[in-house]
């Protein structure tokens, strides 16, 4: 076994080992496992496994790094956010067990070298994460859990037709073999790629099969919402990207992405609840990344990766801040929260930075990602889509930041920070995209 294969294997085994501590110290074991996985994901950048059971390239590395980072942040945040007192739907230990299994299923989907097993991994993410939504067991969370299970499962099942057609066309499901055989443009492959867009698109948040997304994000506990938004959707997007590589149907993907951005921006504009608003913002960002990938242009793909990694931290910061606000105010209603900046300065700072980050404000990494994607759209002659996307990105920017400003400024309410750990995690997560933006500027300066 090569060192690279060992690292990929350990990435899957370590959270599994943490799950063994179910009856004793699983909270601590989860944080330790997530920390070890974070180190392993960094090592994977230099020590990659050879093509075999795993298929890891630098694109995969970025997704693996994103997954382990948000897994670590959510594990730490959960230490204070989740307790047996408020986790009435699940026992605290079961919550941590599922968080670990959720991380394993995402890491498996991202690394495995087989389209069929990728599908199995994506379905496993639904199994491991569904019960996490009903951690607080409200009537709404039960309904959201059910909608998540039935809509996503029905959609992802549709994607299995695409797997069958790929197997029919190539006689194998090995990702590296199929991709190395070059672009294959036959009727069945085109159908397979198109079906994958709708099937996996259900999990990514492609319009009109996105309907589970705002419900699950708004009703799940904040650390789980952060994992959904920050890494679950990108993992599904990664699987779709690997299928898209077989036969890139650019115009179909770009038009679907554009329509989804229009829908997300319109829905986002009239949301009265901040967690739902951030959920629609995720839909908008995921579809912009989908467009970046669909251009199949190196600039567009680089933009999509920049956007995804920056968005994962920004959105995690937004959901952690939302969790702090919810704990302190007891409401998810934008109109009922005012003057946070005076009483909750750290959470306010995190919320402001993360909302600026998710809406693509310079100098956050998301801004540079968006610019690269928009530039790539022009390069591939997707000008009508470019104009539509720009208009609705502005729309989404105004919608998010107006609502967040209303919550932060104004006369102070009777709120206070929920301890130190939760605001600190929110602040750290929301600051990372700034560092990514700075990194981009340094690299850009060095190249030019």
């Amino acid at each position: 076994m090569t060192p690279g294969t060992l690292i990929s294997l350990l990435l899957l085994l370590v959270p599994g080992i943490a799950a063994i501590f179910y009856f004793n110290s699983i909270r601590l074991a989860t944080v330790v496992a997530a920390s070890v996985d974070e180190v392993l994901s960094v090592l994977l950048f230099w020590i990659m496994p050879p093509r075999g059971f795993f298929f890891v390239d630098h694109t995969t590395d970025i997704f693996v790094f994103m997954i382990t980072s948000i897994y670590l942040l959510s594990s730490i945040y959960s230490l204070r956010y989740i307790s047996n007192k408020n986790a009435t739907g699940l026992k605290q230990d079961t919550y941590y067990l599922l968080i670990n299994l959720f991380a394993v299923s995402m890491l498996f989907s991202a690394q495995v070298n087989n389209y069929g097993l990728m599908w199995v991994g994506i379905e496993a993410t639904t199994i491991s994460s569904a019960l996490l939504i009903m951690t607080e067991k409200t009537e709404e969370s039960l309904e959201a859990t059910w909608r998540y299970i039935i809509i996503v499962s029905a959609g992802v099942t549709f994607a299995f037709i695409s797997i069958i057609l790929i197997y029919y066309s190539f006689g194998t499901l090995t990702v590296s073999t199929i991709i190395n055989s070059g672009i294959t443009n036959t009727l069945f492959v085109r159908v397979a790629v198109s079906i994958a867009l709708i099937g996996f698109g259900t999990k990514i948040g492609v319009f009109p099969v996105h309907t589970w997304l705002p419900d699950a994000h708004s009703e799940a506990p904040s650390p789980v919402s952060a994992m959904f938004s920050g890494v679950l959707l990108p993992t599904a997007l990664y699987v779709l990207y690997r299928i898209f590589e077989i036969d890139p149907i650019k115009s179909l993907f770009i038009w679907f992405g554009t329509a989804s951005i229009v829908a997300a921006s319109l829905f986002l504009g009239y949301q009265a609840r901040y967690k739902r608003m951030f959920a629609y913002s995720t839909m908008e960002n995921m579809n912009l990344a989908l467009i970046g990938i669909a251009t199949m242009n190196p600039i567009g793909i680089a933009g999509a990766l920049y956007l995804l990694i920056s968005h994962s931290f920004s959105k995690a910061g937004a959901f952690y801040s939302s969790g702090n606000i919810l704990r302190s105010t007891g409401t998810k209603d934008v109109g009922s929260v005012k003057g946070l900046s005076r009483r909750m300065p750290f959470t306010s700072a995190a919320l402001l930075m993360s909302s600026l980050g998710v809406s693509g404000t310079p100098p956050f990494g998301t801004f540079f990602g968006e610019i690269l994607i928009l530039y790539a759209m022009v390069l591939v002659n997707a000008v009508p889509q470019f104009i539509i996307v720009v208009i609705f990105l502005v729309f989404a920017f105004v919608g998010i930041n107006l609502n967040v400003s209303r919550m932060i400024f104004g006369p102070p309410g009777e709120y206070r920070e929920p301890g130190r750990l939760m605001p600190a995690v929110a602040l750290v997560a929301s600051m990372v995209p700034l560092a990514i933006g700075a990194f981009f500027m340094v690299v850009n300066y060095a190249i030019l």
Binding site: G116, W119, E143, W146
Partner: protein, 213 residues
Amino acid sequence: MIYDGIVYLISASILVSAFYIQGQRYIMSMIRGQLVQSILIAAASFLLAYLENSLDLLILGALILILRGILITYMLETRMPRRKSYVFEEGVNVPYLFLVDLVFIVIAVFIIYSIIFSTLVPISQPGNSSTLLFPLLLFFQGIFLITSRRSTYTQIVGYVEEENGLVLLAIFLLPVPIIIEASVFLDVLALVVISSVITVEKSTHERMEELRG
């Protein structure tokens, strides 16, 4: 030739079971309908295993019988309230749903089939792709059952039916490697287990103000 006839007979029976489930208001009857459907799909797999001398199809048939037929039916039945024969879904207009089903789903499937799937060459019956119509119809029947009903049980049965459609498609077209097929079965089983947790807490699904927009 006689075996072709048997394959068609089993396929048609599977479709009849799908329409039977669609026409039910009693939950217990739907679950039993799903049991019959799974047994028929297992029978199709066993028959093709015999015809093609395929161990994979034999294992697949056994998996369908054990995991879909027995385990899923058992789990759904044990989650039912005690007087289970009386549990039925209220407010379902069966004739209307049948009409919608026939007008939209069946016609749509025939169009999809004639455009795309009619040119596929099934491994089981080279030169005859018409058997692929049955899994497609079953698949969309499952989706229609999920979207047209509000009971948790019915939606689970719809999901299993949708999955059955895919299994049948793989059996007729080209069975995917057994390790993947087995993983798919276990995934579906786990999803049904998790779904059955929800059935205890929430048996029907209505619009909620908090989840609007």
